[in-house]
Symmetry: C2
Subunit: 238 residues, 2 copies
């Protein structure tokens, strides 16, 4: 059995986590786990409350960990309990994964040093604050050196579905992944084109850049604070 | 304020409901509601438990209703309480919507008679059991006659995202919808092509057709039973 954990935290962008969860749950030999500190319900960015099914303390040993993103990322970047758990969990993983701004948590935890990763288009560059190499692609796979985990990351929010299909193909083969794709009818056809900075109309992009500038600045500070906290944890042998 | 209800029922395919919920929540002048019979948590097809935030009895008057699909559809097709609530709710809607096999519930409730609608590719033809006109498109909009609701439907599971962007454009304009599309980075790029019967490799399609044949037959019976129940409810003036 391949144990896949998904980090379910307050303020998660719900589609970041639900996309991969629906793609991966039910695949043969795959067991998914929604992991958080406690079993109490967690509110996503939309307000939707969902139940974790295991905790940092009770989670079975994971083969794959997926960290989604969302507004709640900021608080996690300097959450010592989470950083320590991520670092300990990473040691036996075959795949360390993120969707959207989840990669910033991995970067803050020191787990992307020298590794290629993507993120939400607006926050992608911040991967570098933790020593990672930001890559402007929708799905990025970095196999790293022998004896370490593969880093697989997806871009913003809906990229979690594309990412999870690529991960499914790695875990259980492309035929199983394609069966799931057909089941989920994933033959996307957006009614208009504004899904990334390259295709969005100029005024839509400009509005988004302006509206999110304060968020990017604040999050850069949070990532730096997380990187500093991780350095301290490492010095303490954690 | 535009009140948008999403039906959250046991056995819902979680991505059917979470995709539209994440697209629509936070749009200006839009308030979303997760509706079910009670406020107790509801388990999706994956086992994930989520909380409704209102009930059939306490839901504010809705302008838009979205009914998702999933394995739990079968039980709802002959659930008199749900059929009666849907029929009553439909009377003041501007948009009656479905994702995936949610359209079969609308068909069973007698709300798609003479209307064009889509569904999951494998179950689409069953829309006709309730007098609807099945259409093999990813998003289908049927405006109907003056004085009735527009029917908007999305195909299987992930089509809910495409559908919800089209609905968002109707409700708050295409610029707002494009801003959300950019925020959600919805520039999809599946790692392989098997998302519909037209693109899936022949052996993947064949396996799927065989594996789901019993489900299609059982669901056809359930839709017919629902249509019969609705006829009885109508005869009773409900």
């Amino acid at each position: 059995m391949i144990h896949v954990g998904l980090l379910l935290f307050p303020g998660v962008q719900q589609l970041d986590i639900i996309g991969p969860h629906d793609v991966l749950t039910g695949l043969p030999e795959v067991q998914t786990h929604m992991v958080w500190k406690t079993l109490d319900p967690v509110a996503a960015s939309t307000g939707l409350r969902m139940f974790p099914d295991t905790t940092y303390a009770s989670c079975p040993p994971l083969d794959v960990l997926i960290v989604p993103g969302g507004g709640g990322v900021n608080a996690l970047l300097t959450d010592a309990e989470t950083l320590v758990w991520l670092r300990a969990t990473s040691r036996r993983l075959t795949h360390l994964c993120s969707v959207c701004t989840g990669s910033l948590i991995l970067a803050a935890a020191g787990l992307l040093r020298g590794r290629r990763a993507t993120s939400h288009w607006r926050f992608r560059e911040l991967v570098a604050e933790g020593g990672g190499i930001p890559v402007a692609e929708r799905i990025v796979t970095d196999r790293g050196q022998e004896g370490t985990y593969t880093v697989m990351s997806g871009g913003g929010v809906t990229a979690g579905i594309d990412f999870a299909l690529a991960l499914a193909a790695e875990l259980v083969g492309q035929d199983e992944a394609m069966r799931k794709q057909l089941y989920l009818e994933y033959a996307p056809a957006p009614p208009f084109e504004a899904g990334d900075p390259e295709t969005a109309p100029a005024h839509i992009l400009q509005q988004s850049l302006e509206a999110t500038a304060p968020n990017v600045a604040a999050r850069r500070e949070s990532v730096r604070a997380g990187v500093a906290m991780t350095a301290k944890l490492e010095a303490e042998g954690k």
